[in-house]
């Protein structure tokens, strides 16, 4: 365990979050037959970028995210994060925010946030200090003692984000984190996430079904097709930051969203 105390909290070295996905394929067996889940996926993500993966159900976007997290191995090709291959979960490089209900209900919010640190034997005092800081960053100062079931859906996902950030990894992976939230909360959480992203400079890879959410959040939207999953389009989102609610009804926004929709309709 390396000392963490002297590292500026929650701010990674600027060049650490580079992701290179080179010609990645994923094959799995179903009823004795090989099924090609992902085919020839290559993607270069610069540090600090906000990249959103979209595509029809079964296009392998979640599979790709799980591979970035080191939870699954590609059948072919390589994935490099910060220049070295990712072959197993590495919380130093990657934090993961899951879909709803991934917090441990028997732990308080702060204990949930401390969980990754506790696994590595970080001292109680330092754990608490870092958890407090992470909770403050996500706007949950003073809620540390609550249990998840005492928090709203949006607050729970804030705790999940704090847990993903507490080890200060350069990369944050998010698997449909706001899918279970209502419309208003989802918009608020989107703005909150952008604020946190701007404050921390993380590379974010975000999976969603919502095209509006994709365009609203992203620097770049990666569109995937179904079976086998492959990249069919990569759109730069030239909208200025900070993004605002008014942009949603603008022509630029609509034409970007329409372009993504045409791809998805074609491949679904």
């Amino acid at each position: 365990m390396q000392p963490l105390a002297n590292v500026t909290p929650l701010r990674s070295p600027p060049r650490a979050g580079a992701i290179q996905i080179n010609d990645v394929g994923q094959v799995y067996k179903a009823r004795g037959q090989d099924v090609l889940a992902l085919s020839q996926v290559s993607l270069d993500i610069k540090p600090g970028r906000f990249v959103v993966l979209v595509g029809p159900s079964g296009c392998g976007k979640s599979t790709l995210l799980m591979m970035l997290a080191g939870l699954r191995q590609p059948t072919s090709g390589t994935i490099l994060i910060n220049g070295t291959p990712i072959t197993q979960p590495d919380p130093d490089r990657v934090g993961v925010v899951f879909q709803e209900a991934s917090l441990f209900p028997w732990l308080t919010a702060e204990d949930n946030v401390e969980f990754p640190l506790a696994l590595r034997g970080v001292s109680k005092a330092e754990r608490r200090a870092r958890a407090e800081e992470a909770l403050k960053l996500v706007g949950l100062e003073g809620f540390g003692k609550r249990h998840p079931q005492e928090l709203s859906g949006g607050m729970k996902q804030r705790v999940s984000i704090a847990r993903g950030l507490v080890q200060d990894p350069p990369v944050l992976l998010m698997d449909e984190p706001f899918a279970a939230l209502d419309e208003q909360t989802r918009m608020t959480m989107g703005d909150e996430l952008l604020r946190i992203w701007a404050a921390t400079g993380k590379t974010v890879v975000f999976v969603t079904h919502s095209l509006t959410e994709a365009v609203y959040l992203a620097d770049e939207v990666v569109v995937m097709s179904a079976r086998p999953g492959r990249i069919v389009d990569q759109l730069q989102i030239p909208l200025p930051r900070p993004r605002t609610y008014e942009m949603l009804s603008g022509d630029a926004f609509s034409s970007l969203r329409d372009r993504i929709w045409r791809h998805i309709r074609k491949s679904a």
Partner: protein
Amino acid sequence: MERMTNTLARIAIVLALFALWEVLSRMGIVNPRLLPSASDTLATLCDLLRRASVRNDLLVTATEVLAAFALAVPVGALIGFLVAENRYFADVTKPLLFFAFSIPKSIFLPMFILVFGVGFSQKVGFGFFSTIFIVIMSTTTAVESIKVEYLTVARSYGATAIQTAWRVYLPSMLPVLLEALRISMIFNLTGVILAEMYASRDGIGHQIATWGENFQMKQLLAGVVMIAVIAIAFNEMIRWVETRCSHWRT
């Protein structure tokens, strides 16, 4: 406030039942030879508890119960865990466990006597046999109650197998396991006392059967009250731990 009034209401119901018991017997509405009064029964109970032979019977039964419990719970939990963790093993054995669970265990009692003779091992063996199936099935349920999401989270943050067992499996399973422990004890107590009543030389179950055969109703009822109080006390103790450990369960 509501909790307190509920408790008071419960106490009132129990007192009313005892009062009804007393009245039925004292007024001769029910033959007092068949139903001695509550006060007589409680007086007999105090008298019995002072007798060395009865205390010895209680000790014998307690030892048998604890021995059977201490064997059945870990062995059953281990089997249940292996069944639940291995998909193939679970698919094969689960229906068989359900078959075994559905058979009334009491029909095997004569076989236990033939194999073990009348004595300590027969009663512990039968208590073990009565309990283990419910432990296996509850443990299986406990393991299956762990959400896959929790395991994925632990894995993505680099948890080792031991850390996952300690920090995810155990707290996740604890409420179900405690409930299993409580219900297992009910089965265990029933098994041991049944074995004692059927064929034994000592133990409180043996005494109760003897009092019944000799038409000693006061002693018989005192024995019933005694066992009831012990069983309720154990049950409530585990339930108390349960509520403290399962506050997060909804």
